[in-house]
């Protein structure tokens, strides 16, 4: 592969390099997001996906710069709005593999309303949240997932607010695939991503992706010693109650893996009769047929 510059897109991907974007990431050295990016590249290779078959959509934040570093169609949208944009894109072209990437502030703070309802609607999206429990791009303020007591620039005396739990929230909201990974365990995370992309319906992969610059409470070392795979804990992924119990553990053990999956629920696109036949909406002819015109006018008379 020597001599190939990143601007030359390779149309027949065979390696993770084919999913390298036009520019290299500008994340801080040691940022957990590097691991997430590599995992998604690996997952897409392993799934046999090609860059043009994927639409990667993000909001705003350090991790939301993701689409620029990943070779696929991409949309770098407004802060908090990636899921809404992605819902529109997926329903208008359901043949695309739509992956949403972002951070905890983007997804659970400003975008919380969309997180709730995209999960409820069970839109066939894969939502990868790089959760560093801090606002990084704005240089270190409290996030919804920051731990209680954390000292940040906006909570100089320690936060008094409880922490948001994305896993239990997603399950309660109706998400049909709810997983958590750790950016320090790339093999495991890549496997979770593959499962999430394959899952028909709304998939959340919350990834603990430590911020080495602004979050010194929950750093790489903190997670390294605590993460424990659900696969090793005899967990039943069809049981939402124990999934929630395990998701709420935050101490010596922090579970990663697949918490919950509902394989029976149909995704929103599959429930919409207009998508049953005729292919993606974006490929259908515009304008009304004579028959449709006659029907409309007859009803107005």
């Amino acid at each position: 592969m020597d001599g190939i510059i990143t601007h030359d897109l390779v149309v027949d991907p065979q390696s993770v390099d084919d999913f390298k974007g036009k520019v290299d990431p500008d994340w801080c050295p040691g940022c957990g997001d590097y691991g997430v990016l590599n995992c998604l590249r690996r997952a897409c290779v392993d799934l046999g996906l090609k860059p043009h078959e994927i639409l990667t959509i993000s909001g705003i934040g350090c991790s939301s710069n993701f689409p620029g570093f990943f070779n696929s169609f991409g949309m770098h949208t407004l802060h908090g709005r990636a899921l809404a944009v992605a819902t529109g894109a997926k329903l208008a072209n359901h043949e695309l593999t739509v992956i949403v990437t972002g951070g905890d502030g983007d997804g659970f703070g400003i975008g919380g309303n969309h997180f709730t309802h995209t999960a409820r609607r069970n839109v066939d999206l894969t939502y990868i949240v790089m959760d560093n429990q801090i606002y990084g791009l704005t240089t270190g303020q409290l996030s919804p997932t920051s731990i209680k007591g954390m000292k940040t620039k906006s909570t100089p005396f320690g936060s008094v607010e409880p922490t948001y739990n994305p896993i239990t929230s997603a399950i309660m909201n109706g998400a049909t695939f709810v997983a958590r990974g750790f950016s320090g365990d790339v093999k495991h995370l890549s496997m979770l991503m593959q499962m999430a992309i394959r899952h028909k319906g709304f998939s959340l992969v919350q990834v603990y992706s430590p911020c080495p610059t602004f979050n010194h409470d929950n750093d790489f070392k903190f997670f390294k010693t605590r993460v424990k795979k659900l696969e090793d804990a005899d967990h039943d992924t069809s049981d939402w109650k124990t999934a929630c119990e395990k998701a709420m553990e935050w101490g010596d053990t922090i579970y990663t893996g697949l918490f919950f999956q509902n394989k029976k629920a149909e995704a929103l696109g599959d429930l919409e009769p207009i998508l049953d036949k005729g292919g993606p909406l974006c490929n259908r002819p515009l304008g009304l047929s004579d028959k449709q015109v006659d029907g409309i006018i007859a009803r107005m008379m």
Partner: protein, 592 residues
């Protein structure tokens, strides 16, 4: 030429008394006879109680507003009698249920028509049965054959079963016969028009315009007075292959249509001012990512929650200022329902061609009014121009989404096509979509991209019809309006002519681009200019001044929530012609 038949009927009652049903039955009878119709419903944001006042005006000639006068008043409750009897002039008729309503003191020559509903309906327990009795009375008063109502009732009630239909036809006939025996019908019977007309609301017109334009994705959050667009879209979605989504908020609505539009479908949404406020960041996002999408703002009286069920032209500055930064977008304010219908496909063609958002400004008056239309006037299959769009083929990888072209328009590849992989971004980006801030912020690149986008709009005003003057060029006064006031100003000008004042009319539809040159030519040549606006602060006047530097001689402004009636404008012009004032605020006589 036959003498013009011009008749207005009002039905008043409380919410829940069923004002709408008899109103729609009558509207359908009239439009099927080929009569032109303009109906305005004054109501409040409650489901039960309050006061509903529906005005239906019909004519064998075109009608452009709900008019000035009432010929017949139907009082479903005492409140209606108390509020509106004073509006009735000699020759008018006032009908009411004499079991529950006591008539007030009417002007000389007004015929009072008490209807003993209990006696005529045999003590029916049906709470809205008085409406059907009233329909019988109205049918007689208008000189119509009972059969006309019989047919209309069959259409309305047949799906509710024979028993319901029979009861309604029975009491309608009783009302008809009672009126025949006790009241005097109008001198002039309802004529027949040239051919049957259809009925729509402005919201339905907007939705149908979307369907005609090829909209495949529509999302909304319910908000008066825009919800009618959602209802039509939802009702027709499956037949027309339109993905309709009701979202968690207007932020989701706006962003969802952008996501859909990016894949290549035509996407649209509608809301009112408060919802549009939530959408504004997305409007700029569409402009930055160069994704075409159409946003409809159906204005209601503001600010804030304001008066949800009342009309106003108060969002102009909000729409002009929607979203941060400099960016290109179209803004149109159609004049009536038919214009609203035609504006949507035109707006989509413009937005597709220039790869930018477009905003259509309606208001409660247009959107919730009911109007007749001639189905032959509708072009349901308008020309569709998607602009420079790449939907198939392969490229060798050197595709640049934001290529700096001479026209500023960069061919738009939709996701899914091999070789055209790219990222669109709300951050400033270079020609290839790469964020400038990801690489290094480069002032020269930034300037180049700002200018590339701006170039798309160079000379764009030539793409649409420029405003022109209606009426005699040498008129004593030029009335200037924008958007929904077209019809009422037109009728006011006709009335002014009868009073010896010649006026002409400049109505503006395109807010952006604004045809500064044409407007300047017209306004500077006018003898006297008066701007008519349905708002307090003269939003359009201030905008026109900012674009042209022009001043005007006077203003007529209304901001009480109710739309202008023609005589409001006539009064304002007359006051200003004799120099009494240069700022006239009409008094709203109908208390609703």
């Amino acid at each position: 030429m036959a003498k013009q038949f011009d008749f207005a009927l009002a039905i008043g009652g409380a919410a829940g008394q069923g004002v709408a049903t008899p109103g729609m039955i009558l509207a359908r009878i009239f439009s099927r006879r080929g009569l032109h119709l303009n109906a305005y419903n004054a109501y409040q944001s409650i489901v039960r109680g309050g006061h509903i006042f529906l005005t239906v005006r019909i004519s064998n000639d075109k009608v452009y507003s709900h008019g000035d006068k009432l010929d017949m008043l139907i009082c479903l409750n005492q409140d209606t009698m108390d509020r509106h009897l004073h509006l009735m002039e000699a020759g008018g008729r006032v009908a009411f249920n004499s079991d529950t309503v006591t008539p007030g003191k009417a002007a000389d020559g007004v015929q009072i028509c008490p209807i003993p509903v209990k006696e005529l309906t045999g003590g029916s327990r049906n709470k809205v049965i008085q409406n059907t009795v009233a329909l019988g009375v109205i049918t007689f008063m208008l000189g119509l054959d009972f059969q006309v109502l019989d047919n209309a009732l069959a259409l309305q009630f047949s799906r509710k079963g024979q028993e319901v239909l029979d009861e309604n036809v029975g009491v309608a006939r009783a009302g008809y016969e009672y009126a025949k025996a006790h009241f005097q019908s109008f001198d002039e019977s309802v004529p027949n028009g040239a051919k049957p007309l259809a009925l729509w609301t402005g919201n339905q017109a907007l939705a149908m315009g979307g369907a005609a334009a090829g909209v495949k994705f529509y999302s909304a959050y319910p908000m008066a007075p825009s919800t009618g667009v959602l209802h039509w879209m939802a009702q027709n979605a499956r037949e027309l292959d339109i993905m309709v989504r009701q979202c968690e908020d207007e932020i989701a609505v706006a962003n969802m249509i952008i996501g859909a539009a990016h894949t290549g479908v035509r996407s649209m949404c509608a809301t009112s001012g408060g919802g549009f406020a939530l959408m504004t960041e997305a409007v700029g996002a569409a402009a930055m990512m160069e994704i075409p999408a159409v946003f409809i703002n159906v204005q209601r009286a503001g600010p804030s929650t304001g008066v949800p069920t009342k009309t106003e032209q108060g969002d102009l500055w909000q729409v002009l200022g929607a979203s941060q930064g400099d960016f290109e977008r179209f803004i149109a304010a159609p004049w009536n329902a038919l214009d609203a219908f035609n504006t949507i496909p035109e707006m989509f063609n413009l937005c597709d061609k220039h790869q930018c958002p477009g905003i259509v400004m309606s208001d409660l008056l247009i959107s919730e009014g009911t109007f007749s239309f001639d189905a032959d006037d509708l072009n349901m299959q308008p020309a569709i121009d998607r602009g420079e769009m790449i939907t198939e083929g392969t490229a060798n990888g050197d595709y640049m989404r934001y290529k700096d072209t001479e026209s500023g328009i960069s061919p738009r590849a939709i996701p899914g096509i091999e070789g055209y992989v790219h990222v669109v971004a709300t951050d400033e980006h270079d020609q290839d979509g790469v964020l400038i801030s990801d690489e290094y912020t480069n002032p020269h690149k930034r300037r180049r991209m700002v200018e590339k986008r701006a170039r798309k709009f160079a000379g764009v005003d030539k793409a649409m019809v420029a405003p022109s003057l209606e009426g005699p060029a040498d008129a004593e006064v030029t009335l200037i309006g924008w958007g929904s006031t077209y019809g009422v100003i037109k009728e006011a000008i006709a009335q002014l002519k009868n009073e010896g004042i010649t006026a002409n009319h400049l109505q503006i539809k395109w807010i952006v681009p604004f045809h500064s040159q044409q407007v300047t030519e017209i306004v500077t040549a006018a003898k006297k200019t008066i701007i008519v606006e349905n708002n307090y602060s003269g939003q359009f006047f201030r905008y026109m001044r900012s674009e042209t530097g022009l001043k005007v001689d006077g203003h007529i402004r209304k901001y009480d929530g109710e739309p202008f009636m023609p005589h409001h404008i006539v009064d304002g012009v007359k006051e200003q012609m004799v120099g009494n004032t240069d700022h006239f605020v009409p008094h709203q006589e109908i208390m609703v």
